[in-house]
């Protein structure tokens, strides 16, 4: 049911540009106005969200330690999973952000009821699927930079060459296109097929997946099946970048659909769970060193609390203490 809601929403997002840019021919709206608007919403929204997080302090130093602390000099510390230095913490964060180290630990539990036996198997598919999706996504993003730069910096050429290194077909098939489709399919299927995941999945979880699917598929269609003239497209995109928008007539509805879906993603991004892109950097269980007893952390809103002082307490127990021979302050 939740998946169906999401599907309907994404289909609506596909139909809008088909009607608007295709049938009605509002190319300037879909080619210029909406992209500018979406980009602005994305940038401002992203900043707003991160600043909003940043306005709340981190009152306590609460790293989740994933290994041996620094203690006695002859005990080998796990400098990455239980870092006590800045460098260690930075390495931990890099591994987390770029390689999804925590997800790499993933295990799967199985209960054999008849033997009352639990077993824990390594389970790396989620890690693989997630990494495959994210890497492909960023490679695809980098490849698209050829539409937004002139001359195209060599870096983007290299990425593109590498991505198409198998030299299959014309235009050359990009590995990331296949990988991202497989990864998205995996991420979707596990949500539908694993009962627990289906139970926790919200319409918005499917929405993000479907939207990405739609973007990838429209992109692939344009490259291989319903060809678009990329020279005209570049005229449009460079016009956007140089703030001299120009809308070549020949560009078709499929391109506007692709662009509109991307705009939808940009607009949706800052208000959704996709903000994990920014949030992972601010997670206090990962980005803080385990040096709690070495360096004091300050809580900006620390306030005095009601205490039961020693003096009050001794007043209550003095006689009993004296009787028992326990030293007291006031005789």
């Amino acid at each position: 049911m939740n998946a169906l809601y999401a599907l309907i929403m994404v289909l609506a997002l596909v139909i809008i540009p088909l009607l608007g840019a295709g049938a009605a021919g509002w190319h300037a709206l879909f080619g210029v106005v909406l992209p500018y608007l979406a980009f602005t919403v994305f940038v401002l929204g992203f900043l707003y969200r991160v600043v909003k997080w940043g306005r709340s302090p981190v009152p306590f130093k609460i790293p989740t330690t994933g290994g041996q602390q620094e203690s006695l000099p002859w005990i080998r510390q796990n400098r990455i999973d239980s870092p006590s230095t800045k460098t260690g913490t930075v390495i931990r964060m890099i591994l987390e952000v770029l390689l999804f180290r925590s997800l790499f630990r993933n295990t799967r539990v199985r209960l054999f009821k008849d033997e009352t036996q639990l077993s824990y198997g390594s389970s790396k598919f989620l890690w693989l699927g997630a990494l495959a999706f994210h890497v492909s996504f960023f490679v695809i993003l980098a490849r698209h930079m050829r539409f937004f730069t002139e001359p195209v910096p060599a870096l983007f050429n290299w990425i593109e060459t590498l991505d198409g290194i198998m030299q299959v077909g014309v235009p050359v098939l990009f590995a990331t296109e296949i990988v991202i489709l497989l990864a998205l399919a995996y991420l979707f299927l596990r949500r539908v097929l694993v009962p627990q995941l289906r139970y926790i999945s919200l319409p918005t979880d499917y929405f993000a997946l479907f939207l990405l699917f739609a973007i990838v598929i429209s992109g692939i269609l344009m490259r291989y099946f319903v060809r678009a003239d990329i020279v005209d497209i570049k005229t449009l995109t460079m016009g956007l970048i140089q703030l001299q928008p120009e809308v070549p007539e020949s560009i078709g509805a499929l391109f506007y659909t692709h662009l509109f879906l991307v705009c939808s993603l940009l607009v949706y991004f800052p208000w959704s769970k996709l903000m994990h892109l920014g949030g992972v950097f601010l997670s206090p269980t990962r980005n803080m060193p385990n040096d709690n007893r070495m360096r004091r952390h300050v809580n900006p809103w620390n306030y005095p609390v009601k205490l039961h002082t020693y003096e009050e307490w001794e007043d209550e127990y003095r006689d009993k203490m004296k009787e028992a021979g326990i030293p007291v302050e006031k005789e």
Binding site: P195, T285, N292, R296, V305, A324, P327
Partner: protein, 537 residues
């Protein structure tokens, strides 16, 4: 008291398939004896928090008689905490519901209840957050997973945030480090605002604040208990030892959880500390004012935690000690390691802890000024200052249970193992997915080790017990060691239920068994009064 099902029936009852109905359709949770903790006494809420209007109620009541403006109180409290804790804000926003945490929770593994999946536990709070604190949530409502704050939602909170032991195992596996412990703490604080709290937590909190320890043992009784132990030690070793209480000018203040001097098998560990300190001729003192290392405030609110914790530094300053040594306890060390210095520091009246026997300086505790007893003992053993006869523990085949807090909130993993390997000859590790940073909770942490909650405790403790059973069957392990007072209270019934034949011990009980004291008589028994190996007849 509810009848706890037999282990077989319990296992058969576990079903990981979630119901068909959408969880957002508020279904009031089914409270039955065995799956919830009794509510706090109105008087204790009043005396400790100054909470007015507390009532006697039961979670099984249809109507919880909430204050008229209870939703407002929750919203206001939620808003305040979002402004105070970046963790809460970020964790509310960035979960992608990937499900990696789902089968990491011992309560989910042992109950199959989908709301015990950490992700869904957090969603219980998030669904309210999304509806009322986010722009998109206000527009999309239910499509965005939002729902209205009703009494049924509150009932769910009470059910499931008191079925979380804040063990942080999920946070280890979360790709964003989302920490359910943090979320549970916030939810419990919010419920606290309505006077919704459990007796098993509120009792110890009030006792600790008023009397000095969770169990409400007054100073003179504390001394009696210590005297009994000193007698026992004399019977076993022939040595009469001194235990300094409230001694001014001592080098070290020793603080340990009250569970250690209240009930077996914690008491043996406590005797172990005393014997070790005596043998070293350590210049230390215990305090009858700060007579509690544990801190049930951690399970209540940050304010309660701070109020209880403040006694330790206050007493260290009053007594003029140089540094503080802490006993074996799990959640106590979460507080001492990650909260104490921030809350009640800076402890500028202390010096950098230095082991007076070996001269080792504990640089890792230079700011907080507090050292874990296994760090201390490991250093002693490494420097060869103890005479140890591990063969006295030869009738014990030992494994080690990492407590959640020292492993995932501190990183204390090797120190106790080093000590154990030097005081006993037969030591076997449980499977690696169940120890060290991946350790499983005893099922009774975070203030849930009460009797009425027994069924859930047995369920939650199942993964831990199952791992013990593995080494029990494979290596004949008969002794489960740990560095946690809640473990020492919670694991014996758990073992009894799942793995009969396995006893529970603190690390320093084993240390004291092996410790050869100068001038001691030939020991016949271990600290429990059971014959040493070779002395059975």
């Amino acid at each position: 008291m509810a009848q706890t099902p037999s282990p077989d029936n319990l296992v058969q009852s576990i079903d990981y398939t979630p119901p068909r109905k959408n969880w957002l359709d508020n279904v009031p949770p089914e409270f039955r004896l065995g799956n919830f903790s009794y509510p706090a006494k109105a008087g204790e809420l009043e005396s400790f928090f100054g909470y007015e209007g507390a009532k006697e109620w039961s979670p099984m009541d249809e109507d919880w008689q909430l204050p008229e403006n209870w939703q407002e109180i929750i919203y206001e409290g939620f808003r305040e905490r979002l402004e105070k804790y970046r963790s809460l804000k970020v964790f509310m926003d960035i979960c992608v519901r990937c499900g990696a945490c789902a089968d990491k929770c011992h309560y989910f593994i042992g109950s199959g209840d989908p709301k015990n999946m950490p992700v869904l536990r957090a969603e219980l709070l998030r669904s309210i957050y999304r509806k009322d604190f986010t722009t998109v949530g206000k527009i999309l409502g239910r499509l965005n997973g939002g729902r209205a704050l009703t009494q049924d939602v509150l009932k769910e909170w009470f059910m499931y945030f008191y079925q979380c032991t804040e063990c942080r195992r999920c946070s280890l596996f979360c790709p964003y480090g989302i920490d359910t412990a943090e979320i549970t703490m916030m939810a419990r604080e919010l419920m606290n605002l309505l006077g919704i709290q459990t007796n098993w937590i509120m009792g110890p909190v009030t006792n600790c604040f008023n009397v000095g320890n969770h169990l409400g043992i007054p100073p003179h009784t504390f001394k009696d208990i210590v005297d009994f132990m000193v007698d026992d030690i004399e019977d076993i070793t022939g040595k009469r030892i001194e235990v300094p209480l409230n001694k001014k000018g001592a080098d070290i203040l020793f603080v340990t959880p009250s569970g250690d001097y209240f009930a077996d098998p914690g008491t043996y560990t406590f005797m172990g500390y005393l014997m070790l300190f005596h043998e070293l001729g350590l210049d230390y003192t215990m305090s009858t004012y700060a007579a509690e290392g544990g801190n049930f405030g951690l399970f209540t609110s940050q304010e309660a935690m701070k109020r209880l914790n403040a006694k330790i530094y206050a007493e260290a300053e009053r007594l003029g000690v140089n540094w503080i040594l802490g006993g074996e306890c799990g959640h106590m060390w979460r507080v001492l390691h990650q909260y104490m210095d921030t809350m009640n520091g800076p402890a500028d009246f202390l010096s950098v802890p230095r082991n007076p026997i070996t001269g080792t300086v504990f640089h890792n505790a230079k700011s907080t000024g507090m050292v874990h007893i296994t760090e201390f003992t490991a250093d002693l053993i490494k420097n060869n200052v103890l005479t140890l006869d591990p063969s006295r523990n030869d009738n014990k085949v030992v494994t080690y249970h990492d407590s959640c807090n020292p492993s995932r909130g501190m990183g204390l993993l090797e120190e106790p193992r080093y000590v154990l390997n030097n005081v006993c000859n037969q030591f076997f590790e449980m499977p690696e997915q169940t120890i060290r940073e991946q350790t499983f909770c005893c099922g009774s942490g975070a203030g849930l080790n009460n009797d009425e909650f027994t069924e859930m405790r047995m369920r939650g403790g199942m993964p831990r017990a199952n791992a013990v059973k593995h080494v029990h069957d494979k290596h004949g392990v008969n002794m489960l060691s740990c560095v946690c007072a809640i473990d020492r209270a919670a694991l014996p019934p758990l073992m009894n239920y799942w793995v009969p034949g396995v006893d529970v011990t603190g690390v320093h009980e084993l240390v004291a068994n092996a410790l050869v004291m100068r001038g001691e008589k030939e020991r016949e028994t271990d600290l429990r009064g059971e014959p040493l190996p070779g002395k059975e007849d």
